[in-house]
């Protein structure tokens, strides 16, 4: 917590220090300090829920950002976020943040307010290579809307997958190197920050109940606290990405050795004088992820692909025969996307996702194979001051999905209004269908300073 407060204080005073120090610095440094950029983005995001005829959220965010290019090859960047949700609906009361490491926790001020250090890193260019050290977001993958390789950073799930990924992705304290090889670029990652998906409590509007089905009735359950890895070195995640541009194709090969950001439920049976009972222990398990991406364009089409193979991934099973309620399996996830821009100022994007677990053991909260399809229609009007967009995602197996229409209007250079909706439908046990009662209209204001 002290780290967060200290960082926020630093973020506030750095521009002042930078300006005050100009008189004492040599000319070269003065030039760098004068390039210091401090900007702030403010957002008001509101949603009205049809079920129960009530407002679902009333968020207000302030996002200050500071960038100091100390020299041409060395810069510092910090990004903060002050957040309020006045209805206390997305994370009721004070979130316990048990999934988050001490160094990445948000500063919670009562039920409604919080502050978070979103990014805080130094970026060096050393010859042709880069070294980035600090709290940062690392984004992999080419898929829109669903994540396959974009799992380096965990997610705050207070709005399920509806929040912009830039907002919901939890930055981690990491070391990243980008090596410029002759024909390719090699990114190496070391992430000692043991932070995982921040899942809201059971009373939250978007608690993903489909992932945590209720145990059989009549059984006594004892749930232990979350068991979280906490060894800085041994429990760190590590990864590598090799990327290249070959004959018009952007290709990457990715590898990540990490803890799954979703906990699994280990189940043990015990008994006392009143009879047997289940001890459920939520804990994290490691996997190896290998995969890759490719993109290219052909005439009016662009094609995107992404595949991830999870080796030795641990799943919670709903099969009573499964030992400890857990089993290991390999899993493959893939997406193929086509973007068509043959209509002026428009984009039509279609994606197919496939997610297959090789073991036929019954998995808690999902089928062995899940297929999703998504369609995006986007069109700009009036010199891009108005953007109309609709996104639809459907699970082919269960038939559940969601549709998100949105109209964005750029009122002034630095002022945007957006009106939209999130419509969920289908099987209430499905990934999207579980939120049928959360269907809503949204109204957002974004103001840059």
């Amino acid at each position: 917590m002290k780290n967060v407060l200290f960082s926020f204080m630093l973020l506030s005073v750095l521009p002042v220090i930078a300006q005050d120090s100009i008189m004492e610095l040599p000319v070269k440094k003065v030039r760098a300090i004068k390039s210091t950029r401090f900007t702030t983005l403010m957002e008001s995001r509101n949603a009205y829920q049809f079920d129960g005829d009530k407002f679902q959220k009333a968020e207000f965010l302030v996002k200050p950002e500071l960038e100091i290019p100390f020299t041409k090859n060395f810069r510092f960047k910090a990004l903060g976020r002050v957040y309020a949700e006045f209805l206390d609906n997305l994370e009721p009361k004070e979130p316990n943040q048990e999934e988050v490491s001490e160094y990445s926790k948000r500063f919670i001020a009562g039920d409604l307010f919080e502050a978070e250090l979103r990014e805080f890193y130094f970026d060096w260019k050393i010859k042709k290579h880069y070294l980035t050290v600090g709290k940062q977001q690392i984004v992999w993958g080419k898929a829109d809307g669903l994540k396959i390789l974009d799992v380096v950073n965990p997610t705050n799930m207070r709005e399920f997958l509806l929040d912009d990924f830039d907002n919901s992705r939890i930055p981690l304290w990491s070391v990243k190197t980008d090596l410029n090889l002759k024909i390719a670029k090699l990114q190496l990652l070391w992430i000692p920050d043991q932070t995982y998906h921040d899942i809201p409590g059971a009373k939250a509007a978007f608690f993903p109940i489909a992932f945590f089905p209720a145990p059989p009735e009549g059984l006594r359950i004892v749930q232990t606290p979350l068991v979280k890895p906490d060894r800085v070195i041994e429990d760190a995640d590590a990864g590598a990405r090799l990327s290249a541009f070959i004959k018009g194709w952007d290709v990457t090969l990715n590898y990540l050795y990490a803890y799954d950001d979703f906990p699994v439920a280990q189940v043990n049976v015990n008994s006392d004088s009143t009879g047997p009972y289940l001890i459920i222990t939520p804990l994290y398990k490691r996997y190896h992820l290998t995969g890759g991406t490719f993109t290219n364009s052909f005439g009016k089409f662009a094609v995107r692909g992404e595949v991830g193979v999870f080796l030795d991934k641990t799943f919670s099973s709903s099969d009573p025969a499964a030992r400890d309620g857990l089993f290991k399996s390999n899993q493959v996830m893939g997406v193929l996307g086509f973007d068509y821009s043959g209509i002026s100022n428009s984009l039509i994007s279609f994606q197919v996702f496939e997610d297959h677990v090789f073991s036929d053991t019954e998995i808690m909260g999902r089928s062995q194979s899940e297929t999703y399809a998504s369609l995006l229609l986007n069109r700009n009007f009036k010199n891009e001051t108005i953007t109309a967009e609709v996104i639809g995602v459907q699970n082919i197996n269960r038939g559940d999905g969601f549709v998100r229409p949105r109209v964005k209007y750029q009122v002034l250079s630095n002022l945007n209004l957006a009106l939209g909706g999130d419509v969920f439908y289908g099987d209430e046990k499905g990934l999207f269908g579980q939120f049928v009662k959360r269907t809503r209209v949204t109204f957002n204001i974004q103001w840059g300073l």
């Binding site: 390039s35 900007t39 702030t40 983005l41 960038e67 290019p69 810069r75 960047k77 970026d123 042709k128 880069y130 980035t132 977001q137 984004v139 993958g141 080419k142 829109d144 912009d164 990924f165 830039d166 992705r169 980008d178 410029n180 670029k185 990114q187 990327s243 541009f245 018009g248 952007d250 993109t295 290219n296 364009s297 005439g299 009016k300 089409f301 662009a302 995107r304 973007d339 821009s341 043959g342 002026s344 100022n345 700009n380 009036k382 010199n383 891009e384 001051t385 750029q410 002034l412 250079s413 630095n414 002022l415 945007n416 974004q446 103001w447 840059g448 300073l449």
Partner: protein, 270 residues
């Protein structure tokens, strides 16, 4: 006989007068020669400059953007990056293009900070307007150059623009398909006869209606290279205007080859 000869002579005389009026002066270079001169003008091997955009709608409402642009020529291609610095709501958005000198289709990318991802975009929509301006992707790509393959060109006459001797060149797309791709059926360009820069241009849409007029302003030498410092466009159909102001042109400082990559866009080009 006299009666017959007179009308024939009169007609021949009239034909002579009319044809001489429309005949280009013998000193007028051909369209292809002019294109060659424009395209061989020294633009430096690389360039870094800032440009601000004013986008003014028909009601007079003005939106502003500040950007920084990087360009570097390689043996077989030109690589370009345009990154938004302001306003905050679009800061970090970046466009990157590899424009091949051969007939190979160009490659283009758009980095969207809200997604923190780079999206490969089709380069075939060259007639689409570039990020809300009145310039198309093709206009931005060409910069001060002219396409040698998309148009048939003919020089029309000499005409002064802002007191500078210019050649008026008419360009017509080589095919209807190319015209549709570019969004133009005809282009008139007034090209400075001394420094080989387009000072003014008029564009007609595929329906033959006057579409837009662009004018270059404040052309002066920077580090020995003629450089445009202002470029305005007026769309006659929508009454929308775009004013670009260029500053800080630097042809000398090195531009790293590595800058022109997806990783660079994602790291943040400054």
């Amino acid at each position: 006989m006299k009666n017959i000869k007179f009308p024939i002579l009169a007609a021949l005389l009239l034909l002579l007068i009319v044809s001489s009026a429309f005949k280009k002066p013998s000193s007028l270079p051909s369209g292809d020669e002019i294109v060659k001169n424009v395209n061989s003008r020294d633009e430096g091997k690389h360039l870094v400059q800032q440009f601000s955009m004013e986008l003014i709608d028909k009601g007079g409402k003005t939106q502003t953007r500040d950007t920084k642009a990087y360009r570097k020529d390689f043996s077989d291609q030109r690589k370009t990056i345009v990154v938004y610095l302001n306003p905050t709501t679009v800061k970090g958005t970046a466009f990157m293009s590899y424009d091949y000198f051969s007939a190979k289709e160009d490659d283009q990318w758009l980095y969207l900070p809200a997604l923190r991802k780079t999206r490969r975009i089709s380069a075939s929509n060259r007639g689409d307007y570039f990020l809300g301006t009145d310039f198309t992707y093709e206009d931005i790509k060409l910069g001060t150059k002219l396409s040698a393959t998309d148009y048939k060109r003919s020089s029309i006459k000499e005409e002064a623009i802002d007191g500078h001797k210019c050649y008026l060149v008419e360009s017509v797309p080589v095919s209807e398909k190319i015209g549709k791709e570019l969004g133009y059926s005809k282009v008139h360009q007034w090209i400075d006869a001394e420094i080989w820069i387009v000072r003014k241009a008029q564009y007609w849409d595929v329906g033959g209606n006057l579409l837009k007029t662009t004018t270059a302003q404040d052309i002066k030498k920077v580090q020995g290279i003629w450089t445009i410092h202002g470029l305005n466009a007026f769309n006659h159909k929508s009454n929308h205007k775009t004013n670009l102001k260029f500053s800080g042109a630097d042809y000398v400082s090195d531009v790293s080859d590595d800058l022109f990559s997806e990783e660079s866009l994602e790291r943040g080009v400054n």
